[in-house]
Amino acid sequence: MLIKFVIKRLILLIPVLLGITIMLFALSRAMPGDPARMMLNPDMRPELMEAALQSMRERLGLDQPIVVQYFRWLYNYFVLGDFGHSSLFNRPVNDVIGEPLRNTIILNATINVIYLIIALPIGIKMAVKRGSLFDNSWQVFSLAAFSVPAFFLGLSLIFIFSINLGWFPIGGMPNRALLQGTEYTLQWVRTLVLPATTLIIISLAGAIRYTRNAMIDALSQDYIRTARSKGLSEKVVIYSHAFRNALIPISTIIVGVVFSLFAGAAVTEMVFGYNGIGRMIVAAVQGRDRNLIISMQLFFSMVSVTAMLVADIVYGLIDPRIKLK
């Protein structure tokens, strides 16, 4: 049953993947500048330039029909795993992406663990003590955190904790050449604190709201009344009956957040000079590096397509009602 469900989902993905790749291919062709000319030495003598351009176009396959170009492009990316040459770093894109990707994964892992530990208990308590001071103050917090741009929060944290108190570095990454062993690790932790705090506060706003509403929905169900009338303790009612059911909608939002942080962290990474993939794409656009831009876009899209798929499957796994449909 589950396998059938997954296969159905995968089939639905095909038009989406096609659409994304066509859009990105169009985007890469619409970018200003001639890719063949960019590969050549601009100081070349004009009479040689024409011939060189011609052969470069042939080498890049730019002389072929656009449909052929598209499939060649697909073949390069998905079969060969060759993302082209980054003009900004003057290295293959595959080599450039590695370190930022690792850094972003480290940042995201930290955030997700911490914010779930915080958000779930708060959301549950808010739902249970609906209308209390606790509930209201976290509601206000969530409203405020929704209204603060990530970069302002980040800048304020830098202003207070890095500039005025000097507890954390203002920005940038720990240098492996200068620091060793535990010192390097310690510097890593110090580098992570402020960007992680920023992202946790921003993502917390949505998460506690969502948990609260899911819990309230669960708590207003008939089976909760039944459980209470059976004389079960409130603890058992909340955690065993209500929370388990609330987990179904919560789990999907968690998957969504985990993946959306990859792309959504661009601003935060910029503010803190954190060498992640969000900052990388901003650098790629500023440096007009077409291959890097498209590769990053493709990467982000694949991540979110995977997220959509995982969310669907998780939903199917947790909620038996969906599997049966």
Partner: protein, 629 residues
């Protein structure tokens, strides 16, 4: 009818009384039937909305920000002229607020820099007021407003202000300087000391200061100048004048030397009207000049009969007298950065030149105040009477939100930026909503393959993350756009990339409502499909649209700010709250010029917060189940 009854009917009146409800809780209860009879669903929503305190706070805040941005930007035109004199000045309105103790003292001279003024009193003391000009780097400069201790003990005879520093000389010939003196203006160089001993200059009678240079005039008519290389190469002191100079008036890159025979000699930028158009009678000795004042391009001179002579550039109308002024019987002249002032023997005061910072806004009663002398410098003006007391002040009072890296007033830029940010946001929302309504409705209404296709389209748009795509699009398509086109482009990008959520919501709601019992009942009554749609189903969907529009508006304001902050949004010189913040990526701005990022960001937060509050309240008001929550 009770009070409450009319509230239900007149929405306008209810908004007036909603403020009252913020503080007073009215407890008039009605029976259910009465309430039922008077309320339509829309009125009920309205009623619930205005009873929500959060809604009223949010609504008032938003109206305040809206009026501030839209009405404020109409009243205060955006100054596009760049002036690099007043850059990065901290928020203050104290520029003209002189200390009280000056009333008991006799003022000899008042000088001003970009944000501060200093008075020299006849007891040889200096009093400084205004705002601290920025410290561009730690350690480079001292606090301006704090007069150094050794000066407090000395008997000062002359002072001068550069844009961000003060120079002073005492009766023993000691020289002092403090503030932003990175070009060595604070000390007389050893070269100059040597020159002074060669020329046998024993006492200093006048001090002069520019942006990057300092100069002193000796008692035997010799002028000495030092400072930045640019300044020292601009000013070549003519040897013919040395030893004959009695007074000097200086702009930032030019000077007029007043010689002992009453003639004048220009110095500095050659080839300008300032240099070339000196009236011949002022140089051949037929007119005897007693006082000169200069701006950066113009000269005003007063002769011994009280007649005025004027020449220089036409910019700011400085080369002609005001229409209502007859240039004779003048007792005092003065010059500010781009203005001239003249005081007549009747006590009438005339000021002309640029009016960017209120330099021409003379106090109303100034002509009756017995003014005998006006001290003008930079952008500040102080009128003094015969007793040596300040009677009136005008000019630049300060920037309430500070100034930016181009010397522009952040307060007016916030207004104009607010207009841009709020407009871009709302148009973006309208575009997104229209797309969402068309796609959501056709998907939900027609169903079948169209539904499938449109939902897959939504999947595609959802799969490509917003921010990376928006900045890529801004690079691909926005590269050749001008300022205004770029603004429309951002609206379209925001709209076209963000319709999916609402479209899905509309479709789902449509499908949900279609299955409801009241639709079945309507069908059974034989009502046409179309009127079931428009009269029974769409109003329910409409509620969701309203809430979504509001919440999305807030998020668009944040998104525009983020895009502009990264440099991919609205471009300078058009202000938006986002691009006013982009300097904050510089750690010096972050550290020292806090007003340049905190203030615009606070406006973004206030706008988003107020709209979110309205949106939340609307959702609660429209969802009857919300009261259970």
């Amino acid at each position: 009818m009770s009070d409450n009854n009319s509230t239900g009917k007149k929405v306008g009146k209810s908004f007036l009384s909603m403020f009252k409800r913020l503080f007073v809780r009215d407890k008039i209860e009605k029976n259910i039937l009465e309430e039922e009879a008077m309320r339509t669903p829309m009125k009920a929503v309205m009623h619930r909305f205005i009873r929500n305190k959060m809604a009223i706070i949010g609504f008032s805040l938003f109206v305040a920000i809206f009026l501030f941005s839209f009405v404020g930007s109409l009243l205060n035109p955006l100054d596009r002229a760049l002036d690099l004199t007043n850059t990065n000045i901290r928020p203050s309105r104290n520029f003209l607020r002189y200390p009280r103790e000056l009333a008991d003292l006799n003022i000899v001279k008042i000088i001003s820099g970009v944000s501060f003024s200093a008075a020299l009193t006849d007891d040889g003391n200096i009093h400084v007021w205004g705002a601290e000009p920025n410290r561009e780097m730690e350690g480079i400069s001292q606090f301006m407003l704090q007069v150094p201790e050794e000066i407090q003990e000395a008997h000062i005879v002359d002072i001068a202000a550069g844009t961000r520093f003060i120079l002073a000389v005492d009766d023993e010939g000691n020289f002092y300087g403090w503030g932003h003196v990175a070009h060595g203006q604070a000390e007389i160089t050893s070269d100059m000391r040597r020159m002074m001993s060669i020329n046998r200059t024993e006492k200093i009678v006048q001090v002069l200061a520019g942006t990057t240079w300092a100069a002193v005039l000796g008692d035997n008519g010799f002028l000495y100048l030092w400072g930045s290389i640019q300044a020292t190469s601009t000013f070549v002191i003519p040897t013919a004048a040395q030893g004959r100079i009695v007074y000097v008036a200086a702009g930032h890159h030019n000077m007029i030397l007043l010689l002992d025979d009453g003639t004048v000699m220009p110095m500095g930028d050659r080839g300008t009207e300032f240099f070339l158009n000196v009236p011949p009678e002022l140089q051949d000795g037929s007119v005897r000049i007693v006082e000169v004042a200069v701006t950066n391009r113009n000269v005003l001179a007063r002769d011994d009969t009280g007649q005025l002579h004027l020449w220089g550039s036409v910019i700011d109308g400085l080369n002609s007298f005001p229409e209502d002024m007859v240039p004779d019987n003048v007792v005092d002249i003065a010059s500010a950065y781009n203005n001239f002032v003249a005081v007549k023997d009747t006590g009438e005061v005339f000021v002309w030149g640029s009016n960017t910072l209120g330099q021409l806004n003379l106090p109303r009663n100034i002509n009756q105040a017995g003014v005998t002398q006006v001290f003008a410098d930079a952008f500040q003006f102080y009128a003094v009477n015969a007793d040596g007391d300040i009677v009136e002040t005008w000019g630049n009072r300060g920037y309430i939100f500070g100034s930016d890296q181009w010397g522009r007033d952040i307060f007016t830029r916030i207004m104009h930026g607010g207009r841009v940010s709020l407009t871009v946001g709302i148009i973006g929302v309208i575009i997104a909503t229209l797309i969402a309504i068309i796609i959501g409705l056709s998907s939900g209404y027609f169903g079948g393959w169209l539904d499938h296709a449109l939902m897959r389209l939504a999947d595609i748009f959802d799969a490509i993350p917003f921010l990376p795509l928006a900045i890529t699009l801004s690079f691909v398509l926005g590269d050749n756009l001008n300022e205004a086109e770029r603004m429309y482009f951002i609206m379209i990008v925001l709209g076209v990339l963000s319709w999916t959520g609402l479209a899905r919501l509309i479709r789902a709601q449509l499908l949900l409502e279609r299955e409801k019992d009241f639709v079945l009942a309507a069908k059974a009554l034989g009502i046409k499909q179309r009127s079931i749609m428009t009269k029974h189903i769409l109003p329910h969907v409409f509620n969701f649209v309203i809430v979504s529009v509001t919440l999305q508006y807030a998020s668009f304001i944040l998104t525009e700010a983020a895009l502009s902050f990264l440099g991919f949004g609205i471009q300078e010189p058009t202000p938006s709250w986002g691009n006013m913040l982009d300097g904050a990526q510089d750690s010096i701005v972050l550290r020292y010029f806090w007003w340049r990022w905190i203030i615009p960001a606070l406006f973004v937060v206030a706008a988003a917060l107020s709209i979110n509050m309205i949106g939340d309240a609307l959702r609660d008001a429209m969802d009857p189940k919300a009261e259970e929550r």
